[in-house]
Symmetry: C2
Subunit: 358 residues, 2 copies
């Protein structure tokens, strides 16, 4: 008795009542062929829409397949074709909240088609990542999508992989790779432009962790937009951490040193919430005295506070969708992928924390 047969039988007896014949996954093409009274080859052709089958025969085969609820075995198919209809999704941190929307977008884009997603979490560990890449390649995935945990460039998987690869959120260090990243510079500009549109002119910025590209990019965009408007920042930009507590502290410092901003850009939504607290502590009203804008549009943050927060949504789900779509395209096309970095524009979501001055 083969292992296969044994395992089936065990499963069969292991669960439901024994009269129940479990057909799922056990019906083979040859069963269908036999029932339809044709050869295996013909059955295959009929099922796959090859045009060398008489209509009536095809009908019979289709019918037989239906009756047996035949499902082709992708392993067998893959073994032959070399393609598995599978992509690997290598994530840096399942923990972080940025990989999630991206993951959703990707899953979404694939889900529509015929591709399934293998999930691997490398925990930011290079060793583990290598291990997973190998495992994925062993499983003959048709492509790879690498999701980073920050927007800082990350090492490339290399140019000589047997399948196409796209990078999302964290771009590859190799410009020959294709990367999808949020456009933080443009988002920084948008934040300032929105405040300007609200009639604010004394604009300050409380930034996040200085060690992140997201921070420096946003700072750059903000500085550029201010410069173009011919304005000086209302206070020197301060970096700190990605926390509410730094948002409070940074804002307090700013005010202590005599800055009188009427517009405040905060490196992310948590910082913005912290800022809201400090502003209120000082008796400053938002948005009347100071308009506040955050980044990321993290809903529980932006909509949990009073007033609700205006924020720049980085459109991560769309980013994930785009990355996945590009990968699917490359797979379909035969594996060639133009390199470069595609920047995903942000989207301004206006809420109560910023209104035009009247």
């Amino acid at each position: 008795m083969t292992q296969k047969a044994r395992s089936r039988e065990e499963r069969g007896t292991g669960r439901a009542g024994d009269g129940v014949r479990r057909t799922t996954g056990n019906v083979t093409l040859s069963d269908v062929a036999r029932l339809a009274g044709v050869s295996i080859a013909t059955a295959s052709k009929a099922l796959n829409g090859r045009d060398q089958v008489r209509a009536e025969t095809r009908e019979r085969v289709l019918d037989a397949a239906e009756r047996l609820s035949f499902r082709p075995n992708p392993l067998a198919r893959g073994l032959l074709a070399g393609a598995t209809g599978t992509v690997g999704l290598l994530t840096g941190d399942l923990e972080g909240r940025f990989s999630l929307p991206i993951l959703m977008g990707a899953e979404d884009a694939f889900g529509a088609g015929e591709l399934s997603v293998f999930l691997c979490d490398a925990r930011g560990d290079a060793i583990r990542e290598r291990h997973h890449v190998r495992a994925l390649l062993d499983r003959r995935v048709d492509g790879l999508i690498v999701v980073g945990s920050s927007t800082d460039p990350r090492p490339s998987l290399g140019r000589d992989l047997p399948v196409p690869v796209v990078y999302a959120y964290a771009p590859s260090e190799d410009p020959a790779d294709l990367s999808f990243v949020p456009d933080n510079v443009a988002a920084g500009r948008m934040a300032v432009e929105h405040l300007l549109a609200c009639g604010r002119t004394r604009i300050a910025h409380i930034a996040g962790d200085a060690g992140y590209a997201a921070t420096t990019d946003r700072i750059a965009g903000i500085a550029a937009a201010l410069a173009e408007a011919g304005l000086e920042p209302a206070a020197p930009c301060r970096t700190g951490a990605w926390s509410e507590s730094w948002g409070r502290a940074g804002t307090a410092m700013l005010l202590d040193q005599g800055a009188e901003p009427d517009g405040l850009v905060c490196g992310n939504d948590q910082l913005a919430r912290g800022a809201l607290d400090s502003l209120r502590d000082r008796g400053l009203r938002v948005p009347d005295d100071v308009a506040v804008v955050g980044f990321d549009n993290w809903q529980v943050m932006t909509e949990g506070c009073r007033p609700m927060l205006t924020s720049l949504d980085m459109n991560l789900e769309q980013l994930g969708r785009d990355a996945a779509t590009a990968l699917a395209q490359a797979i379909a096309d035969g594996g060639t992928l133009a390199g470069g970095v595609r920047a995903q524009p942000a989207r301004l979501v206006v809420r109560g924390s910023s209104v035009p001055l009247t």
Copy 2:
């Protein structure tokens, strides 16, 4: 020419029979055998540690495999063995923040072993779920783990699947299935017991959305613990939504109606933050006048506010790990799984919002 392109070309020309079909990463066992000067079967035995090979021969085969960086093709192996070393992870909402830690835990537990995870998001849609289950089964996964988006029981996938299934977070409606859920009743008790230990006796509860089992379970636990202590609630329990805004409103109502709690249990961390706001608005100090406890221990919530929030961590990552481990076990055992519901105990994390009365 990329390797991928080369491999396609070969495929395109069909199996012209003659020749060198060498795609990097596609070294086959027969290549190894040839280089080692043995038969394919012997090579297989040697590589798989069968004890019918002379040590020296094995050495030679291993060496050849090494030199060619041979990686066995799991598809071929799976085709033969019927097992794929793969499990399907069906999630209700990738969006929600509860599936994440569970997913991490599961990925973690599997990652150690040899199982890979297929990710599918059904978006809470039954049709899509069916589709995914079929796709997963087609791919011959060895098991399924179903992650829900709330703790409310969900329909079973059925008893007659060809592979073992475990449910996480949302239990299956069928008691014959194996489900892993957080123990919200016990967590409710723990919240009250903690407040009692802090010397609080006038305890009130602002609950979350009444439509969730998590809400009613926590309410039940809280009520039971109060009853055991011989106490009445300081105010009737109110349900609302899982939002900060309801936390604020609910607390305000409570105080407006003359309740004077010295301990407040909030249905989750967001509610607790809202409560903090309202208490401060009324000039009540936390934790001196009122101690506050939340649920979920969502770090950005609990550590973003002043004072930081005491909360009950539902240990979801552990829950995911347990579910995955049980599934792996069942797969190894041959598919049998004891039914039932396993409750994951919560863990109290004390922070500034609750201290003993002095």
